[in-house]
Each structure stands twice: as structure tokens, then as C-alpha cells.
């Protein structure tokens, strides 16, 4: 009975994440428009776009992997979201966590992109492999500082479980208050990971995969109709899952829905405001950036943990 209830609550939670992700996407478009002095689309515009492509079917066929690509992306995003605790202390919203789930979560973060890479290659459009190549190169580059930050966190909390990392921060918060968050306890790991987050979110200056005017939408060039709806929903859930993971790792998790909304919103907006003021990097500049200061911060974070 408990398992059934857990599954039902998780599915509802997934739907809420989808709605929240789409709404945040609308808010982002609105903010970008206001920065550029425009009125901008309504906040619910992503829902309309999703509804439109959901009703469409296609007659074109590019092979099985082409169809499975967006499915992998959505499945990767959903698996990622369901593994991590969303709200700590609320039954069934703590995710399907187990010891060592952080490693699986890190794998899931790249699973969707790998699926899309295989699927996009089947589309046959020259822009797709260019986008995939750029994406995988950038992914490898930002995984290094993010991995070093995760090593620092794991070493300091003594656990590979996201849930226990949150518990470790909660214990520190009893004496130190907000300063018990990993954001303040491990400042160099935070710098490395939050700079890596800019790359993960693919907003400027790191939007080299779907670079407008260069390779206009990159891997998604041949994906139309209902495939596009899978991609859009996968992207929305993935964006939320990422900020929830960062909330758990660095901001002490959340103990109520309101707290979760506020914390995730601010983490999300970090890459938006950076993106609003910077132009796009070239691929080699982006990769050099991640292998530079963020990696240095990550190495320093691990060194400080060892020295302690």
C-alpha cells in the first residue's frame, strides 16, 4: 500500500515539476523581454506551445533511435527528478533515495543528453552532429569542476547519499544557522559547482549547442511535432531537477513547499541573469573557461578538505 501511495505521490510531484518548469520557462522569457525593453509573451506561453505540438503527428521516419532519443531525454529527466529528495521530512516527497544515489544521479544528468545525441545523429541534418559534438565536449568540460565539488561535499559529509548530505547540513544548521549550508561551509566547492551550473543550464554565454544564427537549434533541427513536446517537457523537468539537486547539495534542502519554491527559483535565476548580460562563447572558449577558474576552485575545495 505504501509503495503504491509512494508511486502516486511521486507521479503527482513529477507533474508539479513539469508545470513549475514550464512556468519558470515562461517567466524567463518574460524577464528576458523586460530586459530588452519588450512586453514579452504571457507567462503561460510554454503551455500553449506544448499544447500545440502535443496535437501534431508526423509521417516522417528516421529510424528507431530517432524516436527513442526524446524518450531517453524525458526518462532521464524523470529518473533524475524522482531519485533526489524534493522536500525533506514530508513522507513520499523524499524521493526514491538510497545510499550512494548521488553517483546514479550524476549519471542520470548525462543520460538524457547521450540519448538525444544518438537520436539526433539519425536525423541526418548536418547541424545535429555539430551540436552534439559541441554539447558533449562542453559536458565533459563542466563535469570536471562539478565532479570535484561533489567530491568535496562527499568528503565533508561522509556520505554518497543526497538525503544524508541534506541531513548533515541540517545538523550543522542547528548550531550555525544559515551558515551551516554547504554554500558557506564549502565556498570553493560552491564556486566550482555554480559555475558548472551555468554550463548545464545552457543559457548564454554557454548556449553553444543550440547556438542561434550559427547552428540554429542544433541537435533538435529534425525533431518536429510530438517529439518536440517530449523534448520540451523533458527540458522543463530536467531544469527543475537540476536546481532541486543544487538546493539539496548547497542550500540545505527544503522543509516546506514554499521554501523549495523560493530556493529553486533563486538558483534558477542565477544562470538567467548571467545569461542576460553576456554574449555567447565559442566552443573552445567555453571549454577553456570550465577547465580554468572553476576547475581551480574545485581542486582548491578538495585540497582544503584534505588539509582539514
Amino acid at each position: 500500500m505504501d509503495t503504491l501511495l509512494h508511486v502516486i505521490v511521486s507521479l503527482i510531484s513529477l507533474m508539479v515539476a513539469l508545470a513549475y518548469g514550464l512556468t519558470t520557462g515562461g517567466v524567463v522569457r518574460k524577464i528576458m523581454a523586460r530586459i530588452q525593453g519588450r512586453i514579452g509573451p504571457p507567462v503561460y506561453q510554454p503551455f500553449i506551445d506544448l499544447g500545440k505540438v502535443l496535437f501534431l503527428r508526423t509521417g516522417t521516419h528516421h529510424g528507431v533511435m530517432f524516436i527513442l532519443g526524446p524518450v531517453f531525454r524525458l526518462a532521464g529527466a524523470a529518473g533524475f527528478y524522482l531519485l533526489i529528495p524534493v522536500i525533506v521530512g514530508v513522507p513520499f516527497l523524499e524521493g526514491f533515495h538510497f545510499s550512494g544515489d548521488l553517483l546514479l544521479v550524476m549519471y542520470f544528468m548525462f543520460f538524457g543528453s547521450l540519448g538525444m545525441a544518438l537520436g539526433a545523429a539519425d536525423g541526418g541534418h548536418p547541424h545535429s552532429p555539430i551540436g552534439v559534438g559541441r554539447g558533449l565536449a562542453q559536458m565533459t568540460a563542466y563535469e570536471l569542476p562539478f565532479g570535484l565539488a561533489v567530491v568535496a561535499i562527499v568528503a565533508s559529509s561522509g556520505s554518497f547519499s543526497v538525503f544524508e548530505i541534506v541531513e548533515h547540513q541540517r545538523a550543522a544548521m542547528l548550531t550555525k544557522g544559515v551558515l551551516g549550508w554547504n554554500l558557506f561551509q564549502l565556498p570553493f566547492a560552491s564556486i566550482a559547482a555554480f559555475l558548472a551550473l551555468l554550463g548545464m543550464n545552457m543559457y548564454p554565454p554557454f548556449n553553444i549547442v543550440g547556438a542561434p544564427t550559427e547552428i540554429p537549434v542544433g541537435p533538435a533541427t529534425e525533431y518536429n511535432t510530438a517529439f518536440q513536446s517530449l523534448q520540451m517537457s523533458g527540458r522543463a523537468i530536467f531544469a527543475i531537477a537540476k536546481v532541486v539537486l543544487f538546493m539539496n547539495l548547497f542550500l540545505g534542502g527544503a522543509h516546506s513547499i514554499l521554501e523549495a519554491f523560493i530556493k529553486t527559483f533563486f538558483i534558477y535565476m542565477w544562470s538567467i541573469f548571467v545569461g542576460a548580460v553576456f554574449p555567447r562563447f565559442r566552443p573552445e572558449q567555453s571549454i577553456r573557461f570550465f577547465l580554468g577558474w572553476p576547475t581551480a576552485a574545485g581542486v582548491l575545495a578538495v585540497a582544503l578538505i584534505l588539509w582539514r
Binding site: 530588452q36 519588450r38 512586453i39 514579452g40 509573451p41 500553449i48 501534431l56 537549434v217 529534425e222 518536429n224
Partner: protein, 213 residues
């Protein structure tokens, strides 16, 4: 070349023996068409509302009219507030704007792009060049009447129409879509042979496939 083409008024008849909806991508029913049911109509209305409020324009300009399209994205006119945005690939787009004169060379590319767009899709003819040739009425290199080659859902007249006129045209197109009257894409599928015949009359080095899926 102008004299070769008959200027047609009204809708030409559907040629005998052509299969209706045979190449249809959306709501395909070969053979007998089922009676429209009440709930089907309601669903259709909802679909049309979604489609009208999410127009994705293929970012593609053919003539001088495309210079009037650019300001639509800027702060002064801002078409994104109506849910209209541009898409760089025909696979993601559902509105094709023929912005001004269309040379016969470009027509080939336009036909391919149009056929690659997923249905339902709409064509907007911008400027007098698409209606009667405009100032290129005696040119050997441009087509003179767009609806002989592609099913046009909305004409916006002028030389060139200002961005305000374009927004007005988009609003009219959205109204038409909501009412379910913008069915040019179905017309193209039903009378593909007729359109092909017209296209081949002016494209002499025809090397396109039967249909660009």
C-alpha cells in the same frame, strides 16, 4: 512568361480521381470521412485555439519585405507578446511568410521548405509582389501571383507594408485559425496535382522530389 499562365478567379475544381487527404499528415483518414461528432468539434476548437496562439514563423525572407519583418521582434513592435516567434527550421515552424518578390529560383526552395513543415501550416503573402507582381510585374525572373503555387491564407497588401500592417495581418490570421477557416494546407494536399502543374510551368529545370517529406 506572363502570358503562359492563366489568371484564375475563384477556386478551380478538384481534379477527378484524386484521393482526398491522401498525403495528409494530420488527422489522416483515408477512404470515407466519418461524420463530425459534437465532441470532435469541441476538441477541434481547443486545438485551433492552441494553434492560433502559438504561431511559429519560419525565419526566412525572400524579398525586400523581410526588412519589415525584423522590427517585429524588437522592443517597438514586439510580436512575441502575441505568442509569435521565429523558428530557424521548417520542422518547427507553422507559418511561412513570402515577404515580397519571389524569384523562380527561390520558389524551388520555398516549395521544399513549405512541404517540410508539419501540418497545419499557413502561408502569408506579404506585399503587392505576391498578389500581382507589384513593381516586378514585367520581370522575367519572378512569379506574379503566389496563390497559383502555394495555398495562401492571408495577403497583406502594400509596398512595403509597415510592421503595424503585419501585426494586423497576424491578428486576422489568428482569427481565421480560431474559426477553423485557414485550411490552405488541406487545399494544397487535395489539389497537389494542380499546384504541381502550375509550379512546373514556371520552374523549367524541375528536379524536386514528388513530395518533400
Amino acid at each position: 512568361m506572363r502570358d503562359e499562365l492563366p489568371v484564375l478567379h475563384g477556386v478551380p475544381p478538384i481534379p477527378e480521381g484524386s484521393q482526398p487527404h491522401a498525403r495528409c499528415q494530420d488527422e489522416c483518414f483515408l477512404g470515407e470521412k466519418p461524420e463530425p461528432l459534437k465532441y470532435r468539434e469541441a476538441i477541434q476548437r481547443i486545438k485551433n485555439w492552441f494553434r492560433a496562439n502559438s504561431l511559429h514563423v519560419l525565419a526566412y525572407g525572400t524579398g525586400c519585405g523581410s526588412i519589415e519583418l525584423r522590427p517585429l521582434g524588437t522592443a517597438r513592435f514586439d510580436m512575441e507578446r502575441f505568442g509569435i516567434s521565429t523558428r530557424p527550421t521548417p520542422r518547427h515552424a507553422n507559418v511561412l511568410i513570402i515577404s515580397g518578390y519571389l524569384s523562380i529560383k527561390t520558389l524551388k526552395r520555398v516549395i521544399r521548405s513549405y512541404e517540410q513543415m508539419p501540418s497545419p501550416k499557413w502561408v502569408v503573402g506579404l506585399g503587392s509582389c505576391t498578389i500581382n507582381g507589384g513593381m516586378y510585374w514585367d520581370s522575367y525572373a519572378t512569379m506574379k501571383q503566389l496563390d497559383l503555387y502555394l495555398p495562401v491564407d492571408m495577403y497583406i497588401s502594400g509596398c512595403m507594408p509597415r510592421p503595424e500592417a503585419l501585426i494586423e495581418g497576424f491578428a486576422a490570421l489568428m482569427d481565421k485559425i480560431k474559426k477553423g477557416e485557414a485550411n490552405g494546407y488541406l487545399d494544397y494536399l487535395e489539389r497537389l496535382d494542380w499546384y504541381r502543374e502550375n509550379q512546373k510551368k514556371i520552374i523549367h529545370d524541375w528536379d524536386l522530389p514528388d513530395y518533400s517529406w
